[in-house]
Assembly symmetry: C3
Homo-oligomer: 448 residues x 3
């Protein structure tokens, strides 16, 4: 699952997205040698230590020919988000439906050129859903860098191995690249974990003769699959741009394909894997004084029911508040895309488990059932949140949809030992839903 | 999930029921300062030690203003069960459908008074199903104490955190209360686990100014939400009784709402969350000489398919036997509501893992696939069992539905090296289904 | 889940198949005192150590009256596979639909003889699906030994206990038998784990008086259920053959019952539990030069959706290759039924995690997302693979369905730094699907 937000001119190397999860990764596919990656476990089998949370920033950089991978420990960079690109997903059993024909130079006959599986375009604000175990590649055909934030949920039922995030590359030589990088300064611990996590591409372990026979090619070509001497990293430059077969962009953008709500096994070949959550006109909650919330769940993008993940895009205007609330059935991984804000996360302890500023490029995890309140700073606050349920639900504590409003006044009077007037204020003073404007009146209202 | 069995005059404090499970809790909401609570893990990720089981009794008492919480270690009390009350569940996204209007004293105009979400009545023998993460409160409007046994299943897929049961209170100050209690005698170990488990209410961790702004109230009112100086515990008295909006009880009782069998996300607002299993006329198995079994599964109460839990009510008359059987797909948490009986639980060891008397107020866990037999004592034996599958199935070893009866005689002859006559006796001597009368004949019958 | 492949004349003892999994077991039900059993955990909660895999062979033998159980550590035997038998499954709540009547010798009146639940025949190449917790027995009514390979998946959601495989016998005295065996040479470690795993039959732990009353039989007969002095082991001889009620075999074989695709709780009594994957005419992929692949998933045998398991039967002719591929959503447990072959399994490390010969009777586990290639030896290579998903999907790396073919040529050119001609060779030289003939041409083709 990615949020792509910047443009670039490179080809993201082919990554076999593993059925693993709770790994948040931010990729910046671009020519400018910048890419970020971050890893963090959300839910494990061991005991959750949620006494204190912290905002996460990228820590370690690994340079590729055409991008950078950062790990979320130390550095602190600002990103500019805008962009578009194309992305290919190779789903087993799906036909190569994109075909091209070439006019031969000698005469009027058409000659077969290439065919491959469907390619989809993406643009700023898109969410791309990738089923576990499916191979994919992406290409930045825009004019500016592209930032992609990807979340891999190792706790998902689709992962039958352990909780370690594993990446299986189909090309390149990522381990060699990482070792070079690690020698130039990273700690020993990082080397260890990184070496366990990834390595050479998947062809590297096979015998070159078997590969040659399996593909029906020479051992020389088979050896190229193993990419032994490839030091370009997992993001590479494409000279003169990538020529692939695809329909004109505009058409592709406008067509809103009808998708039936069934799983991977039935209509995966034609299933929509992408939807946009940045477009303001798609907001689910909108308060002209406060901001907007757009969510993307399996009702809107049915493939998410197979992934058990959903996403939320939030925009708070200057000093606006998002109602304090808890997530009933999911963890939430919040990545700040613009601005800054004050966040408080509380559990069943007296102290908040997180109370601080979050700014652009930082990431915060809010565990299931913990309550969170967000207040935008002077420049506003924008984020994308990934949630570990395909139909994540939250329960607001204040506002029109709140639990407080759902309770009888007398219950509030007795539970909090307050007057009936105070109980009424608690229930009805905030008529807004979940996005609150910055200037709160304390006016009392008597009707809904 | 609760079984409410006694009446009282108090308001159970607001508890945000966590998506955690395998925690059995018995609450006595009443004015007489008695409430029991019990915690026990059923299934964990670590190895199950099921060489020996033991009957569980409450151990530690924590007093509230209007109730008591007991932990199941040492004390041994008898409960009397009868009662009724009301209960409110605040489900996010559901409207406040209970509205009241007040005749103003000055003239004939009606003035808006209050509105809140649906409230349901309960009475003795009711099972109440609460989806994970949903806030709720309860009130005892009867004339006698009320006993509620609640089971929280931390191994349920709905819980994405660790196996620790966590409670998030919306009001009160349970930690302070518990600490006071712990100083007066409990062991250090209990203090530790209890402090991890619960604490202040969820508003306590938030900044009071953000709370005030979020609710649009004064900081003074916001501070009341944090309940800092509230020493009443989690069960409090309501002077003059609780005035809430609700339809007349009789009507509510008789209406049997039709519910479609879909999950939380679709018609949760109108879903039935409650059903009665004590009414003898609802028995699923009835033997006038032996007793009756009533089960409540997701076929009868569809919300249970979302909770992956079901319940069984059993009544055995004096010396009657419930057929030895194993649960195919669930653990079973047995709580004795009346009488006493001899229980044997066996696994694949020579010795029984439990062989002893169970009496009123005790609790026993029977793991999946372990076989159990129950024989009532001289006063009969009654229980409620909670099962960790929404459609728990058991396989009897004896009686008309047994595996022995499902096998060919010749298989029995060869497996047990017995005569054909003995094989026939094993298969057909008990014509009863799963509840057997106390006096067993050894008559042989030749037909089904 | 078993694959039965040899015939015999014995009665397999009654085993209550536990809801546990990832345990591979091979049973040889026969009169010749040979039976194999193997146990191996596939997925646990602890970290997966997949740096190196090894082929597994049976290690320890436990003799029964009419069979042998082998554990997969040391010995190395060859099996001959051919056979048929009958099998009974006692499903709770299902009626005894097989009835017989006997002509009484005195006159023309018919006398009731016996009735029991449905019995099914099996023959070589059958897969039998047993829902967790359901009791069953089997009988070899053929003329040669019968080999059954059974897989119990302890990581399946149906298992709510720990990851230990547990067997609950309904008859016999397996522990005594095993202890005898262990004294004659096995290591201490095996004794320990074996004693934890199994023991006496399930009636052994019950009080004999309660058993007698529950069944309505004498304590003498009840004691027979406990099988205290039974040293025959879990496979016993049936003198003169087993007489059970069943329809003529031919009829049974030909009837292809229509099954609706719902789970255990609804039509389990009439659900088909068996299907054949050895019949060459049922192959899903067939290459006359290479071999064939037959898969059995929940689309074909709906009960598998309840078990979350599926199976694959593979036959490779001399020197043929099965395309390198990875399993997207499952582990694969490969058991070699005939011949030998070279197998390579690779992950994201430079070295293969397995690179070696596999021969008849060996077993290899390929973890999810790891890639595997198989090449038959001079005698061909045949296997059955059990997969931990009811609809296991694999993604080939080479051939007509491969990810390489799904990618645009330009992506290959840039990713692997190869010429356009080489990219075209990689994509189109192998026109075959997943089973490749031994002689690979390097001919280039220009069209699909």
């Amino acid at each position: 699952m990615f949020k792509s937000s910047l443009l670039s001119l490179s080809l993201c190397f082919l990554v076999l997205a593993y059925g693993c999860l709770a790994q948040a990764e931010q990729q910046q596919c671009q020519g400018q040698h910048q890419q970020q990656q971050q890893q963090r476990r959300v839910r494990g089998q061991s005991e959750c230590r949620v006494q204190s949370l912290s905002a996460l920033e990228p820590a370690r950089r690994i340079e590729s020919e055409a991008g950078v991978t950062e790990f979320w420990d130390e550095s602190n960079e600002q990103f500019q988000c805008a962009g578009r690109g194309i992305q290919g997903t190779m789903i087993p059993g799906c036909p190569e439906t994109f075909q091209s024909f070439q006019q031969s130079q000698e005469g009027g006959s058409t000659r077969f050129n290439d065919h491959h599986q469907k390619i989809q375009s993406y643009r700023q604000g898109d969410i791309i859903a990738l089923p576990a175990g499916v191979a994919h590649w992406c290409y930045n055909d825009g004019e500016t860098p592209l930032v992609a934030v990807s979340v891999l949920d190792t706790s998902n039922y689709a992962n039958q191995l352990d909780q370690n995030p594993r990446k299986f590359y189909l090309a390149g030589n990522p381990r060699q690249q990482q070792q070079q990088q690690q020698e130039s300064g990273s700690s020993y611990h990082h080397q260890q974990t990184q070496q366990q996590r990834s390595g050479n591409n998947i062809f590297n372990g096979f015998d070159v003769n078997i590969l040659a026979e399996a593909f029906g090619v020479s051992t020389e070509t088979a050896r190229k699959l193993q990419s032994e001497n490839d030091n370009r990293g997992n993001i590479v430059h494409v000279k003169n741009g990538l020529q692939v077969i695809r329909p004109p962009r505009l058409e592709e953008e406008e067509r809103q394909q009808e998708v039936r709500g069934n799983g991977l096994e039935e209509t995966i070949c034609t299933t929509r894997l992408r939807d946009n959550i940045a477009d303001p006109s798609r907001a689910d909650m909108y308060n002209p004084k406060g901001g907007r919330i757009t969510s993307l769940n399996s009702q809107k993008l049915p493939i998410l029911s197979y992934l058990q993940l959903s996403a939320e895009r939030g925009v708070l205007y200057r000093n606006a508040i998002m109602a304090p609330h808890w997530n009933l059935n999911a963890h939430s991984v919040i990545y700040v895309t613009r601005g800054n804000g004050r966040i408080q996360v509380v559990g069943n302890y007296k102290q908040a488990v997180f109370d601080g500023e979050l700014h652009q490029g930082q990431l915060l995890i809010v565990p299931q059932n913990f309550a969170v309140v967000k207040q935008a700073g002077n420049d506003g606050f924008e984020w994308v949140a990934f949630k570990t349920n395909d139909n994540a639900m939250s329960s607001p504590l204040a506002g029109r949809f709140s639990v407080i409003r759902g309770m009888p006044e007398e219950v509030l009077v007795n539970a909090y030992r307050i007057s009936r007037a105070d109980a009424r204020n608690l229930k009805y003073n905030r008529e807004e839903m979940v996005v609150f404007g910055p200037q709160s009146g304390s006016q009392e209202r008597a009707s809904a």
